[in-house]
């Protein structure tokens, strides 16, 4: 066990966990930030996507010990009022079906648009390929990313 002071959604949070614990489980079990989902545990599905220093990473495969003073943002901290352009576009296109994959999809999309505010269809597909949606909402995800891109 070891103590970590983590910067999550702009707040410092203290946890006492095994150094190998993936960030995913620190968020979900220890900090009650359950918007970040568990899908595969091996960086294959994207359900657990969060931002670390602005970059989309798979929190299931990111041990808490390597975070150090990097800034973590989860779906709960993407915007204060749930009005990030990507979240708004998601609601406009009524993207979710079961909704389970969607926080991961939104986090990946938000980091794509932060880097590349005007992605082409191919760039969207490439960036989003690590996020599985079992319900098959991909065409709406693409449309929502384009809408969000226009409002940036």
């Amino acid at each position: 066990m070891a103590q970590y002071n983590l910067s999550i959604n702009g707040k410092l949070m203290n946890v006492d966990v095994d150094p190998n614990t993936p960030l995913l489980w620190v968020l979900r079990d220890h900090l009650d930030l359950v918007g970040t989902k568990f899908g595969c545990g091996i960086a294959q599905c994207g359900a657990c996507t969060v931002h670390i220093d602005g970059e989309a990473v798979r929190s299931c495969s990111y041990p808490v010990s390597v975070i150090e003073d990097k800034k973590v943002v989860t779906i709960e901290g993407l915007s204060e009022k749930g009005d990030h352009p990507v979240q708004k576009a998601w609601l406009e296109h009524d993207v979710p079906q079961c909704g389970y994959c969607q926080s991961g999809q939104i986090m990946t999309a938000a980091s794509l648009l932060a880097e590349n505010p005007n992605p082409t269809d191919e760039e969207i597909s490439y960036a989003m390929n690590g996020n599985i949606c079992r319900c098959g909402t991909y065409t709406r995800i693409k449309a929502a990313i384009k809408t969000a891109s226009k409002s940036l």
Binding site: D18, R28, D32, T36, C98, C101, N129, R134, T137, Y138
Partner: protein, 756 residues
């Protein structure tokens, strides 16, 4: 206005009236009420008045509607309340929706499956909404001392025109809640033309919570003092637990205990949905998910081969039967050989019209093709899990289940508690696709909690989930057509089977359209467990049938849509046999609509196009898929779907679900496959089990609904089965090769120099 159908389930109505009269307390869901839109005008009232099981109204006119059915992404939590709201005549803006927990005494059929939520709730929910409206009218009539027949309603307002009296629903709700519900015969339902909410798209009522990551799923649930549990199950079908060494994990950090869990009691008569692959598993309990998952890897455990076994099952008519589970470690290669053998043997005849044998003897030519598809894993994004809190003689379970009523018997038997002491609360599910109709995970969590006498959240790893069975079966179907020298179709013969069930629907199209017709089924026993998977059986047989009809049309020199329409015309004007279970006119209607919407005869440059149509869950769907070839790989460009599912309650959400079914079909057709080596599933996570990803989804999907005044029919499943053949037929056009075996991708990889 029309008088409601007298055939309406009287029980459901009486239930509503007893409740209204008795003023029974309603459940308060664990999930707080949620507002449908950002522009709501009414806030939470100070007091709620219960009108019936589905409806409560606040003093300020706000309305809470309960969604009775489990939500797994099909959006019933929005569409079912829309039906209530329309008949109640309220403004959707003022509606809060709550998920009802499992209360069989208050709600009918709390089950998600068979694309049945809207179709079986349509009349009961309309009646519940209309009944509540009548009770509000009667309350106004009493208060104002005017005849009820002179009172009108309009979006949450009551009015008596001649006296100028007006009131909001909220003002009369407290009185309305105490009134006797009217006789169902006296309750008039709206004319279709008067619908204000039904047919007008409403956004997902949980949308805002989903996009902000609020806790909605059982896996997100946590209470004070809750423990975490992981399970360890045998590595192969045909294996069982021999022994394990608890001390190999109990000294690990954060681990409290490890013990065996026996899911069903020996003498328990299982019901249809009580499928579990591994009735004995090991539970590891500890302080966090990560710790219990790590401990799984350290557990010292020995497995042994399971002998042939049987378990008791309660048949639908109440009679008990013994279900045999053969021992042995099965292999996919052996499955294939065995299936090939069965194709050559006579099957069980399920339908015979005319003289098929004679027709085949006379035939100038016979076209014979065999189609196969593998086992499939459901792979819901949220793995199986459940929260349970069993203390003393009370149990509370919160879990993702499509079928709470079915699992209640097992919970009661396994926990040794009466059903009244067990509360099942319904979580939003991270996907279901049939898998969560089999809810053994709820029993497992409950038994773990009972043993440790503390609340627990049990979660499967992805590997546990993917290798625990309840798969879509593997299937095979052989189609033979007899043609005369002028290319007329004389006879059709289908022989279809699978492990462990046959996919045959003997009375579906093209039965009824062909004079000489023979349909036979067969099945092979197995210890690999199966379960419903989006459009069971149809999800295979549609692909086989519609691929064969495509090839047959080509043999006969006919346009594939024209050919199907000719057969449907025959079934309509001069049907063969009497047991045809489809309406040829509605079937033809979707083919005509898809022909128009896809602009069928003018295929764009560089595009190859295929068509398919199917009927299931009382709905008709035709699909056209366009593919192109880029970098020697097929790319799905456009999908056009035409759907006749009667009245569409929530059109944009319906389209969303249709798009999802199409993407699901394309993914499974190209990549879906579960295989076995010595009983071991060869794929246990998404690194090996290929799922369709963003870049492989169609560029564009159009879902067109036939305008209809018919009552709603199924929707979640019917768009799935036609995908396989529409894709296969378009790939044939693109590559010059017919694909007979799913998944397609391995065969495409072997093709060189694809056309275009």
């Amino acid at each position: 206005m029309t008088l409601i159908d007298k055939k309406l389930n009287r029980r459901s109505f009486l239930k509503v009236s007893t409740l209204a009269g008795g003023g029974m307390m309603l459940s308060f869901s664990w999930l707080a009420g949620c507002k449908p839109t950002a522009e709501e005008v009414l806030t939470m009232p100070d007091e709620w008045f219960t009108i019936n099981s589905y409806i409560k109204i606040g003093e300020n006119g706000a309305v809470t509607l309960f969604n009775p059915n489990p939500e797994f992404g099909q959006n019933v939590k929005t569409s079912l309340p829309m039906i209530l709201a329309d008949e109640l005549d309220v403004d959707w803006k003022n509606v809060f929706v709550e998920q009802a927990d499992f209360y069989p005494e208050r709600f009918e059929r709390q089950f998600t499956g068979g694309s049945n939520s809207v179709r079986s709730s349509w009349k009961p929910l309309r009646t519940a909404g209309a009944t509540a409206r009548y009770m509000l009218i009667n309350a106004a009539a009493q208060t104002w001392n005017v005849p009820a027949g002179e009172i009108t309603t309009s979006t949450g307002m009551l009015e008596h025109k001649s006296s100028g009296k007006k009131a909001g629903y909220g003002e009369l709700a407290s009185l309305a809640g105490t009134l006797e519900a009217p006789d169902p015969e006296a309750v008039k339902l709206k004319e279709n033309a008067d619908f204000k909410i039904i047919g007008n798209s409403k956004k997902n009522v949980d949308g805002a919570k989903i996009v902000t990551g609020k806790p909605l799923f059982a896996l997100d649930h946590k209470v004070e003092g809750m423990k975490y549990a992981a399970i360890v199950h045998p590595p192969a079908f045909g294996m069982k637990l021999k022994s394990f060494d608890k001390s190999s994990v109990t000294s690990l950090p954060g681990i409290q205990d490890a013990f065996e869990v026996k899911v069903f009691k020996d003498d328990y008569g299982r019901n249809f949905f009580d499928t579990t692959t591994f009735p004995e598993i090991i539970a590891i309990v500890g302080n966090s998910t990560w710790e219990v998952m790590q401990a799984k890897k350290k557990l010292n455990v020995e497995w042994e081969k399971a002998p042939d076994s049987t378990f008791p099952m309660a048949g639908r008519g109440g009679q008990n039967m013994d279900i045999k589970v053969p021992g042995g470690l099965e292999n996919s290669a052996a499955h294939k050989e065995k299936m090939a053998e069965y194709i050559t043997k006579p099957g069980n005849v399920q339908r015979k019209d005319g003289d098929p044998e004679g027709a085949f003897k006379k035939a100038a030519r016979v076209l014979e093709r065999t189609y196969t598809a593998p086992f499939l894993a459901h792979n819901t994004m949220e793995p199986m899990n459940a929260f349970a809190d069993v203390k003393g003689d009370k149990a509370v379970i919160y879990g993702p289940t499509q079928a709470p009523e079915s699992i209640m018997n097992a919970l009661s038997s396994s926990l040794g508690l009466p059903k009244e002491n067990i509360q099942i609360n319904l979580a939003r599910m991270g996907g279901g696709f049939g898998r969560r109709a089999y809810s053994h995970h709820l029993v497992e969590a409950a038994l773990i909690s009972q043993k440790i006498q503390a609340p627990v959240k049990m979660v499967y790893s992805r590997e546990d989930d993917m290798s625990a069975g309840v798969y879509r079966p593997t299937y095979s179907a052989t189609y033979r057509a007899a043609l005369d020298e002028n290319n007329n179709l004389l006879a059709l013969h289908i022989k279809a089977g699978g492990i462990p069930e046959s996919p045959l629907h003997a009375n579906r199209f093209p039965a009824g359209a062909i004079d000489n017709y023979l349909a036979e089924g067969w099945q092979i026993e197995s210890n690999i467990t199966i379960g419903a998977f989006r459009a069971p059986r149809s999800n295979f047989i549609a692909g086989a049938e519609q691929s064969f009809l495509d090839e047959l049309a080509e043999e006969m020199g006919k346009d594939p849509i024209e050919f199907r329409l000719e057969l449907l015309k025959r079934a309509e004007t001069n049907p063969v046999g009497e047991r045809n279970d489809y309406d040829p006119k509605r079937y033809a209607g979707v083919l005509e609509l898809v022909r128009e919407k896809s602009n069928w005869s003018s295929v764009p440059n560089g595009i190859s196009r295929g068509v398919s149509a199917y009927f299931c869950h009382n709905s008709y769907v035709a699909e056209v898929i366009d593919v192109s070839i880029k970098d020697n790989q097929p790319v799905v460009e456009n999908v056009f779907a035409a759907v006749d599912c009667g009245i569409v309650v929530n059109p944009d959400a319906a389209a969303n679900m249709g798009e999802g079914a199409i993407v699901d079909g394309i993914g499974n057709a190209f990549y879906g496959e579960m295989a076995f080596e010595n009983g071991v599933p060869t794929k246990t996570n998404f690194d090996k089990y290929r799922m369709i990803r963003h870049s492989e989804a169609p560029k564009k999907i159009e879902v067109h609904f036939v305008e209809s005044t018919e009552d709603p029919t199924g929707l979640g499943e019917p768009l799935f089965p036609p995908v396989f053949a529409a894709l296969g037929n378009s790939l044939y056009k693109a590559t010059g090769k017919r694909l007979y075996d799913q998944p397609f991708q391995p065969q495409i990889m072997q093709m060189e120099n694809l056309r275009m």
